[in-house]
Point group: C3
Chain length 223, copies 3
Amino acid sequence: MPGPLIDAEVGDTVVVHFRNKLQAPATMHPHGIFYANEMDGAYKGKWTDPGGFVQRNRTFTYVWEAREGTEGTWLYHDHGPMDPLPTFKGLFGPLVIRERGEARPDNEFFLAFHTFDPPITGLRGTYFCVNGKAYAGNTPTLEAKVGQRVAFHVYGVDNFFHTFHLHGHRWTEPDGRIVDNKTFGPAESFRFELVEDNPGRWFYHCHVFQHLHQGMNGWYLVS
Amino acid sequence: MPGPLIDAEVGDTVVVHFRNKLQAPATMHPHGIFYANEMDGAYKGKWTDPGGFVQRNRTFTYVWEAREGTEGTWLYHDHGPMDPLPTFKGLFGPLVIRERGEARPDNEFFLAFHTFDPPITGLRGTYFCVNGKAYAGNTPTLEAKVGQRVAFHVYGVDNFFHTFHLHGHRWTEPDGRIVDNKTFGPAESFRFELVEDNPGRWFYHCHVFQHLHQGMNGWYLVS
Amino acid sequence: MPGPLIDAEVGDTVVVHFRNKLQAPATMHPHGIFYANEMDGAYKGKWTDPGGFVQRNRTFTYVWEAREGTEGTWLYHDHGPMDPLPTFKGLFGPLVIRERGEARPDNEFFLAFHTFDPPITGLRGTYFCVNGKAYAGNTPTLEAKVGQRVAFHVYGVDNFFHTFHLHGHRWTEPDGRIVDNKTFGPAESFRFELVEDNPGRWFYHCHVFQHLHQGMNGWYLVS
């Protein structure tokens, strides 16, 4: 975990052949991409469609459409009858919808900020993770070279609000603000790009000091 | 509760005839709209104006001005000497200031995300509410038809940060980002519009998983 | 505390002569401004540069560059081996990078929203502070005159998300939204300006009701 990247361009139809190998029912609910009502992968009690309750060892084929107006970095996650437990255990992953024919960055990273278990207050003892691991060296060590076009794709998927801070760098938001630290909430996602110009061993981390010190940090190595 | 919508256009003067039927002093403090100092409805100790301390069974007339530069979706809430208890008990409501002669959407919804009581840590046991109710079916069931222009007005009014997530839809933020889930804080408010194109039974909910599962969700039915 | 304002213009090189008078190692880590890897003031275990571990009574000279593309309001804070304790004790301060030759506002305020100690859940008993003090009258009392161009520079530097709310005023965000209350996270910072047009005794405060009522509020006096 996280689950595999779903990488689409505008105009694509995304077909997910989902097989549930868990002991419990599970689903896939995507963000951002277009889906008809029966393809939203959400458990709705007596109104539940088959895609909202995929039992153990059963399959379901989700069909989603990367229509114009769905461009961005998104995520998918379980939204079945056991929600939120499967998501807290790692049933989530990144989804990106790019412009048609868009030039890929030289290097890109997809980073989920999350916790395991469903902690309420984030007391000491909880590990704050990036892609399932805690503390620099265990979390993804990102690498890039000076001159490369580098994209960061970041999303949250727990009960907490986080910030994404990158040492030694800054980027321009769509509204023109220059930032090096950005707030995001559960199931929010964003993407930014920069042209690498600053070699060294850098930290990336959540700037909630508690989250940082309970593991939500990693290395970004620029050569 | 919430209190009634105050619906103004730029250029309007809003006159609120406030009568306090509670056992305790209370006030009305608006966001966004222009008000002179003695009309801000805030308790200020020895500097309190009459509008900042309206006693039981007394009245006060608030006069506020929807000047140019105050357009938006806002809220009002108690800001009297008992603050924050009356607000946590439901003394709040929506306020919208529209462009002069602006075409109304075909359908619009005003949704307060909040909790009762003044919980600090949001432990299990707290109900997370939309407009005073918890869980889909109790919270507002929103309805729209394909082809309609639909506006959502959302505000927070408790100790927590929330996100607003709408299944099966996305919207464009003022900075051009396409989103389906947006962070907002206490007394923050926002509005977005979409042209309805996706029929079905959809969830709207706070995407803080804990808040979602303690009640902060509802139905949006599109026919 | 907070530490002194570092006030730079684009094109400046900022040289900080840092002497550690504490009993424990400490550093200075800046946001926003350009710095080479060995100047980031961050403790990195076995990869630590001298600037990331300045011992008691020792000095270090940080050299940072206010390059084009670093404009904004930022902060600096300890990021040494004792992190986050020194920051929670007050080792932080504001940093502003202005356009070359930019006209200064008539009046401007730098406000840190923070707590002492490293509280996790913000239980009752914690003081929520602005620039080291709690409650209006202790926190900075800001003053301005009608007609002045006034700039507010606000940053967070604890474990919490806050909002900045100013009574009787509103401002335009870079994306065009008109707001009077804005969410920000730890080590996020922002600046807004307004031309003062509304005399009186006004509150500024965090709109997380709990934070407001545990001290995070102050006076803004307009004559």
